[in-house]
Every structure is written in C-alpha cells, then in structure tokens.
Amino acid sequence: MPRSSSTATVRTGGAIGLLRQVAAHSEIALVVSLVVVIAVFSLASEYFLTVRNMTNVLGQASILLLIAAGVAVTLICGEVDISVGSIVAAVAIPLIAIMNVTESMTLGILGALALGLTIGAVNGYLVAYMRINALIVTLGTLFIVRGAVYLYTGKRAQADTAYLESFFALGNERLFGVLPYPALVAGVIVAALIWVMRHLRFGRRVYAVGGSAEVASLAGFDVRRIKFYCFLISATMATLGGILLASRLGAAVHTSGIGYEFQAVAAVVLGGVSLAGGIGSIFGVVLGVLILAFVANGLGMINAPTEWQQVITGLVIIAAVALDSLKKGRR
C-alpha cells in the first residue's frame, strides 16, 4: 500500500531519500568508475597512490572543477556557456593589475569578480532577454573576450609584482602541508553550489526551468531572470577558477584557459548532466572532473605519451555518453 510506505519514507527522512537520489542520478556508476581508475593506476605506478600525488591531482583539478560546475548550472537551466575559457584569462588582468597597484588581494579579487560578472551579465542578457541562442552568444563572447585580452595586454603576460604571500599561498600552498588550497577553495565553493542546487529554492527553480521552461513559467517563476542568474553563476565560477589559476601562475597569462570550454563540457556531460536541461547534479560533475583528472594524471605517471591522454579522454567521453543514451533509448 503506497500510502503506508509513503509515511514510512517521511519518517525515515533523509537517509533513504539520499540513497534514492544517488541511485537515481547514476552517480554510483561514476563513483565505481573513479575507484576503478584509481585502482588500475595504483597498480601501474608506485607514485600514483601517494598522498602527494592524490592531493596534487585535487589541486590540479580544482580549476576545471570550478569552471565545469558553473557550466553545469547553465546546462541544467537548459542553456550553455562556452565563453568560460576566455573569462578565465580576462579576469586575471584586473586581478593582477589592481594587486600590483593597491597591494590588496581583496581589491584584486573584487576587480576580477566585477569583470567576470560583467561578462556573465552580457551573456545572460543576450540569451535570456534578447533570446539569442546561448551557444552562439557565448561563442561570440569567447572570441570577443579573448581578442580583448590580447588587445589589452599586447599579448604579454602581466606579472604579479605585488608578491603578496597570501596570493601566492592561495594557489600554491597546502593546508597543514597536505591539502592544496585551490582544492580547499574549489571544494568549499562547489560544495556550496551543490547545496544551493539541492536545497535552495533558487537551485530547484533552475532545475525546473531546465526541465520545462513552460511549466516553470506557469508556476510563476521569472524564467528569464533565472537564466540570467545562471550565466552570472557560470561567469563567477569561471572567475574563481581564473583567480586560482592566476595565483598558480603568478601572472595574468593571456593564453590561459584556451580550450577549457571543451574540457568543461566534456566533464559535465561525463558527470551525467543532460544537454537537454533539467537533469544532472553538480556532485556528478565533481566525479566527472575527477575521473578525467585522475586518468590524465595516471597516464602521466606511467609515462604514457601525452597524446594518448587526449585519445583516451575522447574515448572515455564517447563511451560514457553512448552507454547513457543507449540505456535511455532502451527504456
């Protein structure tokens, strides 16, 4: 009798709900894949399963993780943002320039966020309010922002001359000498985003808009504003990634972030987010990013030629998406 079972569910509360959510999002398969990847490379290389290497990978993956989580939000709301790679390069310029002048990391970060949010707002306005296809808008801003970066910098990296220890630490040092700060920062922010998407009304509305913009509109949501905010989120996440990267590089490097849009979309889709919108979770994206990062790192550890990384990454993505869509097709 469903009624009694439903009351049971209510009583047992979160535990069963959580289990159901996990099962429903096929995140278990991703966790298993991640464990298999780690196990295989641990057997293949003695250096792989060390605290040093594991934490290294977390630090390295942190930038893509931030960017991919942001892109995932746009995909969940039924759009896409491929301008993120250019945003990564652009926001480092005010960050470094302001720090060099003011010696204040806070002001630098605010400057970076201001630029990032501006780009995000342009994307969001054109998509949500002008109703231009998101792929085209963000392809356009990808070109425009990258070109503006080249134009402004004269294609020279802008070095950090403020030498703030805190800024160096942000991208390069480790908490208690173990956990890289970028991993910590990305972890906290992405955890917050996971929480927002699961437990805040706003997050649920993003899913609703992606699931059916019409239903969302009937429920009284301002679909355009929600989409607009999604682009702000994606730009913010790319900005945070850009800040961490700038710290790791000690400079605003004009070529940084090229091609990140493809890596991010690949990781997001691998993590189970649907291109059609409304389906997927940020936690899945975390797993997708980690799988790709550990595969890349592991291949490096066994000294496989760099080009195999690309070939294998491509194969992993096709296999994952094909399995998923064939599974759905059979239903």
Binding site: R3, V10, G13, R201, S212, S217, L218, A219, G220
Partner: protein, 511 residues
C-alpha cells in the same frame, strides 16, 4: 475538510457563503491579431458547484481558462474572486487569488518528486530561500492522506501515470488553498476506472466548498458531474443553464449552432483483397499478440482509451517501431519492422496523431510539406522538378479545398484542419493504398472534421484500406466497417459496426 486543510496563518478571505460567487467573470474579452478569441463573456461559479464549460474547438474555452489562470491578460472585462477584482500579471497571481488550473498538458516537472511538484511555487522555503524538504514531504503526504490519493510523494513524476499526475496537479490546488479548480479536458487521457476515481475526487472537492470549472466535450460526463452548463461558441457566450434543463440535443445545438445531420457519409465500399495481415504482433512498446486483417475498401476502426496501445499499433504496422515477435504482411509481402522505407514501398503509411511533432515541417512551405513523401515522383536524376511539384500540390489544394494564400507560405500559418488535409495529401500524392489514421481529427474544428470524414469515406470507396485509430466513439461508429477494441496492448473485442453497441465497446475497452 476545509478547516483541516487550511493552515492557521492563512486568513480566510473567501467566505463560503453560497450567496456570493467564488468567481465572477464579467464582460471578459481577449483579442489576438486578426481574431477576437473571446468576446464579452460573463459567468459565475460558487463554492461547491461544478460548472461545465462547453464548446467546440475554437469556441474560446482555452482562451477563457488562460485568462483565468493569468497566462493571458484580458483586453476587457473583469475577474473577481472572493468579491475582489483581480488583475493577474502571471499564473502565480492566479494561484495566489485562489485559482488553480489543471491543464490538459500536465504542468509538472517530470524529473522532480511528487512532493516537490506540489510545492513547486514556493518550495515552502524559509529564510534565505532554503527548501523545507521535510515539511514538503510531510505536507504532501498529509494532503494525499486527506484527499485519499494513493501516491508516494517521494516518487518522480515521470514514473506516474497521467491520471496520477492529474491528482498531483489537484493536490497542488489543495496545497495552495485554491478556491477554484479549473480542469481542462481532464478525462481525455484516463481509463474509465480512473475517470470514476476522478469523479470521486471532484465530489470531495465539492464537499470542501471548492468551486470547479470542468471543461469537456464529453456530454456523458457533463450530465453526470456538472451542476451548471456554460456554452461558448466562436468566442461568444451562448447559454448558461442548469444541467438538469439540458439534454444531449439541446447541448449540441448550443455548441454547434445547428443540427449536424450528415456528419458521417457512407458511400458504397466494394470490398477487395486482404491487404494487411497482422499475426501475433508483440512489441517493446506494450503490444502483445495482436492479430487482424484489413481488406481493400474497408475502414477498420481501432478503439482504445489512452494507453491502450493505439498509437503503438499504428507505429508498429507501418514499420516505424521495432517489433519483438509476430509478422506483418502488406499486400502479401512481409514488412521489415523498424524500416519505414520498406513500409512505404509496400504502400502503407501513417498519418500521425502528433501533427506538430511528427507530421509538419512548420517553417517549410505548404508545397514542400505536401510533396515530402512523394518526392521521388518529381525527381529525375536527383533533381526535383519544382514546377511539377507545385502543379501537383495545387491540384490537391483544389481537390481538398485547402484554404491558403500562397502555396509557398509556411504550413505553420494554416489552420489545424487545413494542415491535416495537407498531410493527408502527402500520402495520397505518393500513391499509398493502405493508410493508418491516428486520431485524424484531433484539434480540428467541427466543420473541417466533417470534411475529413467525407474524405475518409471517399478513400475507402476508392479501394483504399483504411485503419482508423480513435478514442472518439461517434467517429468510430460513424466511419468504421469493423471495429477492434484495444486495451492494455491487446485486442479485447471485435465487432461489426451494425451490431456494435457503445456499451459493449466500452466494456471491452476497460477489460
């Protein structure tokens, strides 16, 4: 019950005083470019009353509903609930004013759980917009308990049947203390058992003092459930009378404005050879062990309720879907399943129920839509002869009296009936001999319906084998020579039209 469901903090503005209408609509008018969709319509409904809103397609029912829901804004007239004049900027305003519309296209987020959908509008969010999951689950279960719905609040909506999804929509009304629930063709997708259950639910809503506007064109239902009937025609109000003062004929007369006599012509249809033979057909889409034959020159009707397998059968026998077992022979040759090219070569084709999704190329011209299947006829060495194509299209436009301005206008700009005639031309131009028609008159106004019925009769008289999938009893009885009834993917009854009764057919359909 009303008291039970009310949350303490919600002030009781709408009084249940029967003298005062819960909803009062006066002089409501809505204009679209070139069309006066709703013209000065007034009505009232009280708590505990079921008001049936009737009219043919295009009568203005859905415009009225959308105005009440806050989807559209009126060009004139007023809407009052609880004695207060309301101006809706969005559907949320409608709901806030106590009006909940259960649309035919269920407005739920499929990937969300039932409970989350019930509280979709606000997620019972507390401070900082935090979703109150436990509260949502608790309140959903509570609503289901009190309304007597058998639904697990934790299940995703996509895993529910249509009727269960409707109950979820109704639960949303209860969750929002709606005083007026509007149901738009709620039974069009339900099994008879589900219809009975829905009527029970409506009785309970009445008992709670909720006013119900029930939109339907199924007269049997109206007589069973409605207290009052409001009839619209061509956007205008026609009549408001207690149901008790109506009979079938009077309702139809109000709706149509004239007596329709010769809706279903029946020419002499000489029977030819057997052209369709289906044996032991089972599919992954739920059909099992289907057997039937169709001969040239006859119309074989398949009746079934929603989910009975009509569309699935249609798609299997033209080679659209794969099959699990069994065989399909067209004109004596075995059809390769899941290969429409083969089906077409054997002369069988489907006119889909889903015009937009599976029939029309909306932005393409009328000509190109009409000639799609027959393209090879106009092709020589890979080149399409545009002049021949146009000439052929024009001849069909003339023959079927398709109303259009130019042959190269986008087909999306035609009315539903003209679109349907163009799609039928697509197959006739190709020279099909066996045609499967799946709900051929869905969403088409009554005049165009009559033309399409005449066409179907003409086809059969010309020696076509016609397979008609329908959920409309009059259409089934009016057109078919023989009738099969589908239920749960099986054939549960077969009849000759002369001896068939509506009761027997329905009985088979709910087996």
């Amino acid at each position: 019950m009303v008291e039970d469901l009310a949350t303490p903090e919600a002030p009781q503005t709408g009084d249940t005083d029967a003298a005062r209408p819960t909803l009062r609509v006066q002089g409501l008018t809505k204009r679209f470019p070139g069309v006066l969709a709703l013209d000065d319509v007034s009505l009232e409904v009280r708590g505990g009353e079921v008001l049936a809103l009737l009219g043919e397609n295009g009568a203005g029912k859905s415009t009225l509903i959308k105005l009440l829901a806050g989807v559209y804004r009126p060009d004139g007239g007023t809407i009052e609930t609880g004695g207060v004049e309301r101006h809706f900027a969005s559907p949320a305003d409608g709901l806030a004013a106590g009006i909940k519309v259960v649309f035919q296209e269920i407005a739920l987020i499929e990937e969300f759980t039932v409970a989350e959908n019930i509280f979709l509008e606000d997620h019972l969010a507390g401070r900082f917009g935090r979703v109150a999951w436990d509260e949502i689950r608790r309140r959903a279960a509570e609503i289901f308990d009190r309304a007597g719905f058998d639904i697990d609040p934790e299940v995703k909506v996509k895993d529910l049947s249509i009727s269960q999804q409707q109950l979820v929509e109704i639960s949303r009304a209860l969750a929002h203390e709606a005083k007026i629930v509007i149901m738009d063709e709620p039974t069009s997708s339900l099994t008879p058992a589900e219809v009975r259950h829905l009527f029970g639910v409506i009785e309970r809503l009445k008992a709670m003092g909720i006013a119900i506007i029930y939109v339907s064109h199924k007269l049997e239902e109206i007589f069973e459930i409605a207290d009052t009937c409001v009839v619209l025609r061509d956007g205008k109000w026609v009549s408001t009378r207690p149901t008790a003062e109506h009979d079938h004929a009077s309702l139809i007369k109000d709706m149509v404005g004239r007596e329709i006599t010769d809706l279903f012509p029946r020419s002499d249809r000489p029977l030819g050879d057997t052209v369709v033979e289906v044996r032991g057909l089972s599919t992954a889409t739920g059909l099992s062990d289907i057997d039937f034959d169709v001969r040239a020159g006859e119309v074989v009707g398949f009746f079934g309720l929603m989910g009975a397998g009509r569309t699935e059968l249609a798609k299997a026998i033209v080679g659209y879907d794969p099959i699990l077992s069994g065989e399909i022979r067209i004109a004596g040759t075995q059809l390769t399943p899941h290969d429409t090219r083969r089906g077409k070569a054997l002369g069988i084709g489907l006119l889909s129920e889903d015009r937009k999704g599976e029939g029309l190329m909306l932005e393409a011209s009328v000509t190109r839509n009409m000639t799609l299947a027959a393209l090879d006829k106009f092709t020589a060495r890979g080149f399409v002869d545009a002049a021949a194509e146009r000439a052929q299209a024009q001849s069909f436009v003339d023959r079927f009296r398709i109303k259009l301005a130019r042959l190269d206008q986008p087909i999306g700009t035609l009315s539903g009936g003209n679109q349907q005639k163009a799609l039928l031309s697509r197959w006739l131009m190709f020279g099909l001999r066996t045609i499967v028609l799946d709900e051929p008159t869905r969403g088409i106004d009554v005049g165009a319906k009559a033309e399409i019925f005449a066409l179907i009769d003409e086809l059969a008289a010309d020696g076509f084998a016609v397979i008609l999938m329908t959920s409309e009893m009059p259409e089934l009885l009016g057109l078919s020579d023989r009738i099969f009834v589908l239920s749960g993917g099986r054939i549960t009854g077969s009849f000759d039209t002369e001896t068939a009764t509506q009761e027997a057919i329905l009985d088979a359909a709910i087996k």
